[in-house]
C-alpha cells in the first residue's frame, strides 16, 4: 500500500477545556484532509472532555514573525 507522504499535511490542534478558558495548543496530527484531521484529533487528544477543539492546517497559518532556522545562512529566506 503506497500512501504518499507528500499528500499528508500537518494540522495543529487547539482546545479549550471550559468555556472562557484560554485556547491551548495541545499538539499536532498529520492527515490527508481536514475531515480525517478532525477525526484523528478527537481520537488522539481525548484526555479531557474538551468544550472546544479546532484543527488548523499549518499551511494556512499567516506568519507575523518567524524565527530563522537554526542553521540558516545569511540571505536564506526558506
Amino acid at each position: 500500500m503506497i500512501i504518499e507522504k507528500e499528500r499528508r499535511s500537518t494540522f495543529d490542534v487547539f482546545a479549550r477545556i471550559k468555556r472562557g478558558d484560554h485556547l491551548m495548543y495541545i499538539g499536532t496530527v498529520e492527515a490527508e484532509n481536514k475531515e480525517l484531521a478532525k477525526i484523528y484529533a478527537s481520537f488522539t487528544y481525548d484526555e479531557e472532555d474538551w468544550s472546544e477543539m479546532v484543527v488548523v492546517d499549518r499551511d494556512q497559518l499567516v506568519w507575523v514573525r518567524k524565527p530563522d532556522g537554526l542553521f540558516a545562512e545569511k540571505g536564506d529566506e526558506s
Partner: protein, 214 residues
C-alpha cells in the same frame, strides 16, 4: 405467539445482528487496525474499536431488557452468530475499511429509520451511538476514497472487497425492509426504503454490484 411478541422478536433479531457486527468490527479494528498504514490511522482504529465494542454491549443489554431479563446482565463473551461473513473474514486493512464503511453505513440507515418509530424509548437508547458512529463512517469513507485512488493492485483489491460485502449487506437490508412485523409494530416506519438509501450513500463508489441491484 401474538403479533406484538413477533414484532419484538424481529426487533431483537435486528438489534442482535447490528450488535454482532459491531462486536466483530471492534475485534477486527484491534487486530488489523493496530498495524494501520500510519500512526494517526492506527490510533483512531484502536479508539474506534472501543467505540464499536461499547455500541455492541449497549445493544446486547437492550436485547436483554426486551427479553425481560432482570438483574445483572450476562457478560458478553462472543457474538450470537449473526455477524456478516464479510466482517468475520476481515483479514487486512483493505477488507477492514470496506467492511467498516459498508456495514456502518447500513447500520446508520437502519438506526436512523428506527428513530422515526413510534417507540419513544428508542431515541434515548441510540442517539449517542448514532452520533459516535458518524465519526466512524467519516473515517472509513475517507480511507475508502484513498484506497480507491491508491497505486498498484490496491484499488482493484479494494473494489473486490467492497463488492463482496455489499452483496451481503444489501441482502440484509432488503430482508429488514420487507419484514412487515417490524413495520406493523412501529419499530420501522411504513414502506421504509433502506436499500434505496444504501444505494444512494454508496453511489459515489459506483460499484458494479450496486449498479446491477434492482
Amino acid at each position: 405467539m401474538s403479533e406484538m411478541q413477533l414484532g419484538v422478536h424481529s426487533f431483537i433479531e435486528l438489534l442482535e445482528t447490528i450488535a454482532d457486527n459491531k462486536y466483530m468490527l471492534g475485534d477486527r479494528l484491534v487486530e488489523i487496525g493496530v498495524s494501520g498504514p500510519n500512526l494517526e490511522a492506527t490510533l483512531a482504529a484502536v479508539a474506534m474499536a472501543q467505540g464499536e465494542l461499547g455500541h455492541a454491549r449497549l445493544l446486547y443489554n437492550w436485547c436483554f431488557d426486551l427479553r425481560g431479563v432482570k438483574g445483572k446482565k450476562a457478560e458478553i463473551r462472543g457474538q450470537t452468530g449473526k455477524a456478516f461473513r464479510g466482517v468475520v473474514n476481515v483479514h487486512n486493512w483493505i477488507s477492514l475499511i470496506a467492511a467498516l464503511y459498508t456495514v456502518n453505513t447500513a447500520i446508520h440507515i437502519v438506526l436512523q429509520s428506527t428513530l422515526e418509530s413510534s417507540h419513544s424509548k428508542v431515541a434515548s437508547r441510540i442517539q449517542k451511538l448514532i452520533r459516535e458512529q458518524k465519526d466512524h463512517i467519516i473515517y472509513a469513507k475517507n480511507w475508502a476514497k484513498q484506497l480507491r485512488h491508491d497505486q498498484g493492485a490496491v484499488p482493484h483489491r479494494f473494489r473486490e472487497s467492497l463488492n463482496g460485502i455489499i452483496d451481503e449487506v444489501y441482502a440484509w437490508l432488503a430482508k429488514v425492509e420487507q419484514n412487515q412485523k417490524l413495520q406493523t409494530e412501529g419499530y420501522l416506519p411504513k414502506n421504509v426504503k433502506l436499500t434505496e438509501k444504501f444505494k444512494e450513500q454508496l453511489k459515489e463508489f459506483n460499484t458494479e454490484h450496486l449498479v446491477h441491484m434492482k
